[in-house]
Amino acid sequence: MDLARRFDVTPSAMASPDEERHPAPAGRRRRSQIGLAFIAPFGALFALVFIVPILYAAYLSLFQERLIGGTTFVGFANYGKLFQDPQFWDGVGRVIRFTLVQVPIMLLFSMALALALDSMRVHGTKFMRATIFLPYAVPAIVSTLMWGFLLGVKYGLFGSLNDALGTDIDPFAPGTTLISIGLMVTWAFTGFNMLIFYAALKAVPRELYEAAAIDGANEFQVVRAIKLPALRGSLVVTIIFSIIGTFQMFNEPQILPTMVANSGVTTFYTPNLYAYNLAFTGSQQGYAAALALVMAAITIAVAYAVQIRGLRNASDQ
């Protein structure tokens, strides 16, 4: 910024001190004030629904609520306790493991589908696009119930599958529940991510394909040399969205225990679920607020790391 001004060669920078008194700078000032007016509605709403709640959560996190003795100021004690809370770290570890496995699989699916739709070799593209996207519109609560029935071993579809194949696999045993949740999440979000990829592919100038065709490139070379590089930017976006989504996992583990016995879902299965239970059955709002803030910090850190890395890689190419 400073550097830019030092070498500024615009007329106003080169103007004589005399001209400084002319209305031009005042006009610029007015213009910046108009700009402020334009962002004011957004700014006010943003402050109201984001900044204020964060500050309030931060404030809450400094207190401890007790059934006997009421609310007391405890400084950063909630944070100290949180960092030593094995249940919290159990949940964090679970969503990280989940992210590492589920997100790549889902994005590969999405990408493959987007490439297929874009290949112009599939009939009924519009219908397919809408159908694949449809699960995203199903509320997570409904889809969890639905998958609960599908994967139930006693009377569900999976039970019949077990009978037919003579296997004895329980999709909701403690070791497999996370995989089943992964399946539900993949089902729900593949279409959403596919749409992002598809939009990026549609933005590729047709001339590139024509040029490739003239050069005699086959379909796979086109994919490798044109389409995949074009997807790089949206890949970063989808990864970030997916990380945020999985770090916030709540609905599925919240509902599953009411459907299946002993699926291994605990009250601290994911950090969000833990925060909810702490605040609403343990009446520990302060501790829950501390947890929410720390989790937000972790999520932001991970998402930004991905974004910075992703953008650097993109510009390297």
Partner: protein, 442 residues
């Protein structure tokens, strides 16, 4: 582009925090305390009642006819847990506090001890004592003061599928737990999915078993809570159920209230349910195909010839200390939980702990079609009046039961359930939490 991306990122991260904050009570507000409103004057009073018991609403027209200056609005706030959260929030916020609220028995101390409930002694509630079965009255009494009036009751009883029992060669309901054990083996011998009962870590069932056996694991005295799962009654109950689980006589795959559960009740493969008497109202809906097969009996006894029961659920209504119209609220409470509105509620299906109802001919003599014309009321009345006395719940039971599954579930899934160890771990968590909450727990 980058900015909007960032904003979206930020918003996605922060939404749960916003939700959390929104729910944890906002600014001061105007305060719910417009002093105790009048109920008898000419002034119009609008009562807000929070209840998930649908029969309470049925009592409203009769009450309003007799008290034209009181308008009653009954709000169903969803499940009990949701309602407690909402009440806590309203009290914390100081606005929107209802005048009358429904509580499960174990939740009464949770609200009474920190002073969130009005002491009903000031309304002369003691004179109603004789109309309630003793155990129910004890449930709403905390440290010698009455904070709520019992409104429905859950005496534990055994519901059994007589057709399944007959198929297994059992011609009468097991009257003792020893007979129950023998019956379990015969039912298991039918093969397939036939079990005498299911258990996937149901704390309320286990506690009712302990309760009946004379165990009193929780002792509450003011802010002091003592937890002991090694007294004689507890040990006996735990050892018995441990034996049932060890010998594979219990289905540990089907959880209560699930779709699977409904199906097994319908097809008769689950032979018995030892549960609160309220099951009478929901069983016909859940197991319509088993109509005519189910019967009700007292809980099997620990000693031949005894008649001791236990509780499994039940609820009451109390008046928040911050309520605006306490007098009018009590008037309505008395009406539907003791006075003229009681019969309306009983007709609508409520199971109440009032002796005036339980001992009436109308209640005891009525044949229930779903239960093969059995006089169900007589059995449940007897179950209510024989509930063992002296049971206490710790004030943080709502939290304690929510984490019980965390501890029990891993044991149940490995198939090697060690009840005593589960209870010991549970106790340790309770001690830690209770002390953090300012109680003296050991």
């Amino acid at each position: 582009m980058r900015l909007s991306q960032k904003a979206r990122l930020l918003s996605a991260v922060l939404v749960p925090m916003v939700a959390l904050v929104a729910c944890s009570g906002g600014s001061g507000g105007s305060g719910g305390g417009k002093a105790a409103g009048s109920g008898g004057g000419d002034e119009q009073v609008k009562l807000t009642v929070w209840s998930w018991d649908g029969t309470v609403e049925k009592a409203v027209p009769g009450f309003q006819a007799a008290n034209p200056n009181i308008k009653v609005e009954v709000v169903n706030g969803g499940s009990s847990q949701d309602e407690y959260k909402a009440l806590d929030n309203a009290i914390q916020a100081g606005s929107g506090v209802p005048d009358l609220v429904m509580f499960e028995y174990f939740a009464v101390p949770y609200f009474a001890i920190p002073g969130k409930l009005a002491d009903l002694g000031e309304f002369g509630v003691e004179k109603f004592k004789n109309d309630y079965v003793p155990a129910a009255w004890a449930d709403v009494t905390v440290n010698g003061k009455v904070y709520a009036l019992p409104s429905d009751y859950g005496p534990s009883a055994m519901f059994y599928n007589s057709a399944t029992l007959k198929k297994a060669g059992i011609d009468k309901a097991p009257a003792t737990w020893d007979e129950y054990y023998e019956a379990a083996k015969k039912i298991r011998a039918l093969g397939g999915d036939h079990y005498i009962a299911q258990d996937t870590g149901d704390i309320f069932f286990l506690l009712s078993l302990i309760w009946q056996a004379g165990g009193r694991p929780f002792t509450v005295n003011g802010n002091k809570v003592h937890i002991d799962f090694t007294d004689e009654g507890t040990t006996r109950a735990v050892a018995f159920w441990q034996k049932m689980l060890d010998e594979g006589l219990i289905n540990t795959k089907i959880t209560g209230w699930s779709d699977d559960w409904n199906r097994t009740l319908n097809d008769g493969s689950l032979a018995t349910q030892t549960m609160g008497g309220w099951l009478t109202s929901t069983l016909p809906e859940r197991a319509p195909k088993a109509a005519g097969d189910f019967r009700v009996a007292l809980m099997p006894q620990w000693k031949q010839g005894d008649k001791v029961g236990a509780e499994n659920g039940g609820s009451s209504f109390g008046i928040p200390a911050a309520a605006g119209h306490k007098d009018a609220a009590f008037k309505f409470l008395e009406y539907f939980a003791h006075g003229g509105g009681l019969s309306t509620r009983v007709d609508a299906g409520a199971f109440v702990p009032n002796t005036s109802v339980l001992e009436s001919e109308a209640f005891q003599g009525k044949a229930n079609k779903y239960f093969g014309d059995q006089k169900v009321g007589a059995v449940l009345a007897e179950a209510s009046e024989t509930v063992g006395s002296g049971w206490q719940y710790p004030p943080f039971f709502e939290w304690a039961r929510s984490i019980y599954g965390d501890i029990a579930s891993p044991f149940y899934t490995t198939g090697k359930v060690k009840l005593a160890e589960i209870l010991e771990q549970w106790k340790q968590r309770c001690i830690q939490y209770g002390n953090e909450q300012g109680f003296q727990v050991d």
